[in-house]
Symmetry: C2
Subunit: 463 residues, 2 copies
């Protein structure tokens, strides 16, 4: 047997004892678990895939790997867009997808304690039955897991008012690189005992520990009245001006999303939602204050839309219509993927720089002769230019990569950050180094070395 | 000259060149800067006190100290209640109190960039002129600095709805133990580039770096209508039942404070605010939703107060009356201090455990024959039992310490955390070790060693 085959066999035998019947080594499984949804991020098939069922199992697998110098790549649903879950040389993938139990919903304290494999929407539905609400809503909420959301500090549509995943993670159980199991954080409303290790683990992309249980803060489900305000704009920049004006006016909407013509068309062609096809850019705001106060805010948003050149500004109060409009937003990414490989950008710029950034994105598209569609959590300045390259067109692919780098460069020049919510993974390593600088990267390195001296957990990702 | 005198002289000479005219070595200054407001936390006078004026000066002083094996204790206004700013053997104190400039208030992005020595209330007033609001409001807001607030992750009265300091710190400039200056975080609404080092520094009590500039998120000042609901309760437990019921009903007030008879009397004797003297416990809620929705919530809070045995339940909408009521809350601590040394507890328990915890505190007071007054951010389950020992009564002091430890023990037994907002400092080191456990303490130690291998920055604090 060759060296590789020997290692594969050893891995299969050793791991099978730790997770009986849930160790995959066939080629199809190794291929399926070797990467996430990021386009063009590198990967190397793993030695094996372990479908873990418990914290203790994860700990045993990590110890097994650490003793053999094998690396461990943790994985939720594999819906990431930066390559953070891509397997690497001499690694095993530990998938947490089978860990789907919600252990506790505490109504008095408003928290849920759950395994990491629970799908975001499933957790939301589960706690809704208790009159509670889990706000963080990445566009992938139907398919991504709460553990993956925590490991990447996932954002979403409601962040502009309700914050990101980090704002909701109170505590967690973590398997460290040593295989030790630790409990971090708390179940109380406040607490400042020691360093915020929970917050450090959130967004660390599996490089400091594997999250095997999460306690998330919940809000009351009741107490919000949702209204949508929709406006059609003649250009991306005009919509950007409306976004900046809403921020300047001190209005904090529950959502403020931008969808351009290319995305609207792709969604409508696919799903026949009856969306308008002849407009340039759509802005979609949600206001959820109760009663007259909320109506007044919606009026102010509508007036700002009109001042910025928005037409056909309308309000929706019917929950089904609001859902349909936001469904169009959620479907934009998969709809575009049907057209060809999509290289997804994820930058965040100051809100006042949204018009200029959108302008530069269009310049880049023209200059590189690539199609760039745009969706954006515009209220946060978090833009997702989607660079589309026809299948098999290597020249277009090369131009798409140049466009990707150029957008990162423009974002940094405008005071932005190279990843608003998708994470660094592999795709944003260069950008992260430029954004953070040498001294801050060295801080990352020393923390990583302190908690994972052997480099067992997802090395080479995140910074 | 003796060894100590030599060291003092060396320190004075070396530092004087780095911060001309702002190095204090006289006995009065060394005494004044050797401790914060914590009762009975140990301290050793520093070799010198440096009143720093800039990031570069702090960096030069840290390099000077690191080269000589001298420790550096950073200090804001010294209003801490856990001994976190207490000077230690072979240390210099670096005070940031002169760094009082607000560099920028950005209305479009809603953030302020400020030096660390700005007083919390001064920052609040400063940004209010721009129509913006900095929510975190520790009871010390009139005297504590924003840098100290960040270093300790200060809480406050509005946390129950608006969160703690960590929720508002977007970025910072930090002097590391090496003397390197780094910029952490971002000025955008979202961002996930690398580890959350900003969040790690917040609440690290000066052990990982010295915060010399802070960027804080702001909210719009407008858009809230404040109402207070006041209720008088026949016992601490009855008030606790009301607190737990408000949480269970899914109501999130903007404040929910508890003040007991001993505190009310002490404040009124001092300030003649016309507070009732014949009640056992006061609950003070603030509701700030706008319009009819807010009025309805206030009605629900009032009804819950009455169901729990509250009497004379009243509403206040006059801003001056609301201010006066909350002033009584803010003055409770200094009012009690006039009566003798106050050993301040700061525990946080699950909201549903508030009645039981208040009951146990009373038992402890009776058992140890000490006076324990109570103020609490009750809506968060964050209780501040104030243990009062008459000056010079050593036996009472010993009993007070036993009571302090007993309260920590009960808090842990009820699933609480040993410090809700004051920090570990020196007073809660034992409690923190019990709460966190050996493996998590080892994580703290390895992060501390990674970022400060020589142990230059405030060693022996926080964990």
């Amino acid at each position: 047997m060759g060296l590789m085959t020997t290692r594969l066999q050893e891995a299969a035998d050793g791991l099978a004892a730790l997770a009986p019947g849930r160790v995959l080594t066939d080629d199809a499984a190794l291929a399926a678990y070797s990467h996430d949804e990021a386009e063009w991020a590198p990967f190397v098939p793993p030695l094996a895939v372990v479908l873990a069922r418990s914290t203790e199992e994860v700990a045993a697998v990590v110890r097994w790997a650490a003793e053999r110098g094998v690396r461990v790549v943790p994985r939720g649903a594999g819906t990431g867009l930066s390559g953070g879950a891509n397997s690497i040389q001499n690694s095993i993938v530990v998938s947490l997808e089978l860990m789907q139990q919600v252990f506790e919903v505490n109504v008095d304290e408003r928290y849920a304690r759950t395994q990491p494999g629970v799908i975001n929407n499933a957790l939301r539905d589960h706690v809704a039955a208790f009159g509670l609400w889990y706000p963080p809503d990445p566009a992938s909420s139907a398919i991504s897991t709460i553990g993956g959301n925590a490991a990447t500090n996932a954002g979403g549509i409601c962040c502009v008012k309700y914050g990101v995943t980090r704002d909701y993670v109170l505590g967690m159980t973590v398997v460290l690189a040593s295989g030790e199991i630790v409990s971090l954080g708390r179940a109380t409303a406040k607490g400042v005992t020691g360093y915020d290790l929970t917050g450090l683990l959130v967004g660390s992309e599996g490089t400091l520990g594997i999250i095997t249980e999460v306690t998330v803060k919940l809000l009351p489900l009741a107490g919000r009245d949702e209204r949508a305000v929709i406006g059609y704009f003649p250009s991306l920049e005009a919509a950007g001006v409306a976004v900046a004006a809403i921020s300047r006016a001190g209005i904090v909407p529950a959502a403020l999303e931008l969808i351009d013509q290319a995305c609207l068309r792709a969604v409508d062609d696919w799903q026949q939602l009856g969306l308008p096809g002849n407009v340039d850019t759509l802005l979609l705001a949600k206001i959820d204050e109760r009663g007259a106060a909320g109506d007044e805010l919606a009026d102010r948003v509508a007036a700002i839309f009109e001042t910025a050149g928005g037409t056909d500004v309308e309000r929706a109060t019917d929950p089904e219509e609001i859902s349909r409009l936001f469904l169009a937003r959620r479907l934009a990414y998969p709809a575009l993927e049907r057209l060809g490989p999509v290289l997804t950008e994820d930058i965040c710029v100051p809100r006042s720089a949204v018009p200029e950034m959108l302008h530069r994105i269009q310049q880049t598209a023209a200059l590189q002769n690539v199609t760039i569609a745009n969706i954006a959590h515009a209220g946060d300045g978090n833009l997702h230019p989607l660079i589309i390259a026809p299948v098999g067109d290597e020249a277009a692919k090369a131009r798409a990569k140049v466009a990707f780098d150029r957008i990162v460069e423009d974002c940094l020049a405008l005071g932005g950050t190279v990843t608003g919510e998708h994470g660094v993974g592999l795709l944003k390593l260069d950008g992260a180094r430029r954004e953070l600088g040498g001294a801050v990267i060295r801080m990352h390195r020393s923390i990583k070395d302190a908690l994972d001296p052997q480099g067992t957990l997802n090395p080479g990702k995140a910074f």
